[in-house]
């Protein structure tokens, strides 16, 4: 990312600015210290659904490391997902930061029984879409101003 590590960190810790980067994410609610709730829409072809997810920052070491657990479920618990995520920021130089993001997603229920390979590709695609919009967000001057 073409941004200093502090700003990347600050941005990432701000649900209001992170949420728009997550595909299909809406209705972000802060539940308290390091706890958020949101709604995430997902579609695989004709299968359209939305997960009520709650994100909890389980560990953070500003401005370089954070770990979070995301739990979500479809209406009627048709499927449930759990994601253990890890974020590592390394400052390359004053306005470049290397962002390492790992998320292990586990899906059980109706969607967990179906199309393993395809679902993995979908999850990966969502992750890439997120990374891309995040990069655009943080690298646009407008946002620089806001943060600066």
């Amino acid at each position: 990312m073409n941004a200093p590590v502090d700003r990347v960190w600050e941005f990432m810790m701000d649900p209001d600015r992170m949420a728009p980067c997550v595909p299909g994410c809406s209705d972000v609610e802060v539940l308290g210290e390091n706890k958020y709730r949101a709604n995430v829409k997902v579609a695989v072809g004709p299968i359209k659904t939305s997960f009520k997810v709650s994100v909890e920052l389980t560990e953070q070491n500003a401005p370089t490391y954070a770990a979070s657990v995301t739990r979500g479920e479809e209406g009627g618990k048709a499927s449930m997902l759990t994601a253990n995520s890890e974020l590592r920021l390394t400052s390359v130089n004053s306005d470049e930061t290397e962002v390492y993001y790992l998320s292990e997603v586990s899906l059980v229920g109706r969607l967990g029984k179906f199309g393993l390979g395809m679902m993995k590709k979908k999850a990966k695609a969502i992750g890439e879409e997120f990374a891309e919009s995040f990069r655009i967000q943080i690298e646009t001057p407008a946002n620089r101003a806001k943060v600066g």
Partner: protein, 778 residues
Amino acid sequence: MSSDTAQYVNPVGQDLPRLEAREKITGRAEYSDDLSLPGMLHAAVQQSPYAHARIVSYDLSAALEVTGVVAIFTGDDIGYDYIGPFVHDETAIAKGKVRYIGEAVAAVAAVDQETARRAVALIDIEYEEFPAVLSIDEAMAEGAPLVHDNFDDLVRTYEADHAPNVMSLMQVEEGDVEAAWAGCDVVIEGEYETQAQCHTYMEPCSALADIDANGKFTVWSGNQSVFHLQANIAQSLDLPMSKVRCVTPRVGGAFGGKMEQTIQPIVVGLTRKAKRPVKLTLSREQDFEMIRSRHPSKVWMKTGAMKDGTIVARKVDIRLDAGAYGDDSPGVAGICALFCRGPYHIENVSVESRAVYTNKLRAGAFRGFGGPQVAIAGETQIDEIAERIGMDPIDLRLKNAARPDEEWLGGLVLSKSAMRECLTQVRDASDWVKRRAAATEPLSNGKRRSIGIACLPHISGILTSGAIIRILEDGTAVLNTGAVDNGQGSDTVLVQMCAGALGIDVEQISLATPDTDSSPYNWGTTASRNTYMAGRAVVGAARSVVDQLKERAATMMECALEDLEMRPGGFIGITGVPDAQVSYGDISGFSHWVAHGPVIGSDSLAFDGENFDPKRGFIKGFPFGRIGAWIFAAQAVEIEIDEATGKITPLEVWSAHDIGKAINPASVAGQVEGGVVQGIGFALYEEMVWDTGRLANPSLMDYKIAGTMDAPPNINTILIEEPDEFGPFGAKGIGEPPIVGIAPAIANALTHATGIRLKQLPMTPERVLNALQEKNEI
């Protein structure tokens, strides 16, 4: 009524059609899900989304508000009333903790399917998630989370060492293995891995329960033992066994998967609360996720032999992934340890076999009961030795084959066994020498053909059975054993033996369905034991019936008991006086209305073979006592290998079995053919795949068993009839052996043609192709 003495044909050894064939081919056969009762409710279950978690609380309010919901059953409705054949570690439904994804945690009974499904999803369960162990290595790692933190307090029916997450350690020590390596010219060592195989019986688990005015339950369900099931239900719900009656309608296959309880305790739990009949039928996906599988295994094995082919020593370390509950695991681990020597005479043997808890679906009994896991290691190492010393694999096996007169590990006597005949007959029938030689030549289509061999030991028998035969007023008979026919044909075989022993026709016998209220005891349709054990009880009961008939005939004909003989067709006559005879009908009428009373013969027995001889070697942790008559088999498989894709196609199979006596040869062939194709599935196609703790292919769409185009078009069954001295009519069992040797035979054929040696099952095209490419890179 009874046929004439002269034209009587003994049904034993005849290819009679199944007694129930007609109802099965017309769609009239009734399986559990085909049954319904007035006022019957339908059930649905909620499954655990976590591999390992504490159940904090249940919120049933939303579910209870749904119109049509009658009862909900959860862990709060039961105490810690544990059940389990070896470790009492399992409850009727998850209580306190969930230990695998898919485990049943709550069930709803409602007026219809849709309502039950909708309501059960509304049950809100709060969990506290724990770290899970998802593999043998994770489970055995230092400081690993414990699947059963209260293991030390749990009742165990065996004496074995245990360790964290290791429920049992079976040890066998004979001779001095470490000293023996020195005397070996060839030593083969390898690690082998086998996968979880799903029983995939065509009938998903289903159970129907009812309750009467006195609080007594009747349960109709697919199972392998009404008696064992009755005990499991009663114990898990803290009921007297006298309040639980189990009945078995037709069963759509089991293969070991229905030996322990499946969903019956849940259904009875719901019925107890609803006070109405309840039926639960699992979807195929739920059946995959909830019931049980074959144990995935890791086997390390080392075998040493001399130049002349004498196998000197074998050392084995077996680790079975038992999943979340003990089930039959200590037993399977024990059988692995006892069978891993293979059907050979080996002086020095050292084995350790462990059953390890993980947070996955429980593993349990499955046709072969540990045999397939060790056969892939043992039988491929025999071939590696043969290759190294330049000896034909069959010759090497013959050289080392255990002799009938010798003792097995631990001192069990093999008695009459036809190991060698199995090998020689497969060699001749398969035209072995010619096909082996041809295998090295690639075919015109670029593919290769090859043939491989494997042989195996198994047992037939174990534990207890009983039988009752009552002669009806007209001289026909009712046979009642309580043995469950899962589709393999034991009903027909038992009736054939009963008819043969009484000298009457099968049509003259009515077979009672298994019912814990009226049937004598039969431990189970397992361990290839129905023909052997229930059969012995039937023959014993028939003997008693004949004695009683003679006693009454003596009174009727005013002659001495010893002057009487049984005559085919249903007569007792005076020896040497052809026309002096009375029919069973006359005798029975006399018994019922004049003197002596009805003719009712029964028998009851426990397998009485030898037990282990403690002086012979060191055996610790084996959870069984006397384990049955030894049976052997040799199997050859011809395959075609597509070296461009790695796909293996099975072409023809020769399967020779030490059967003692085939009571119904066609039925035996059916068992062999079915077992062989399950073995092919295990070798080539079938694998339950877990992804982040969840079973990722719980459907027939993604988990593939062989269809008509994937199974070999020719399976040659070879029966070697060397009568067993205790077996009924000399018969021994056949259920399990046919599955065991197929994977190693295919692996050996693959190596013979290509030089590659796969040590992981299934041998998928991808694994074969990768191995071929690695070999070519070297």
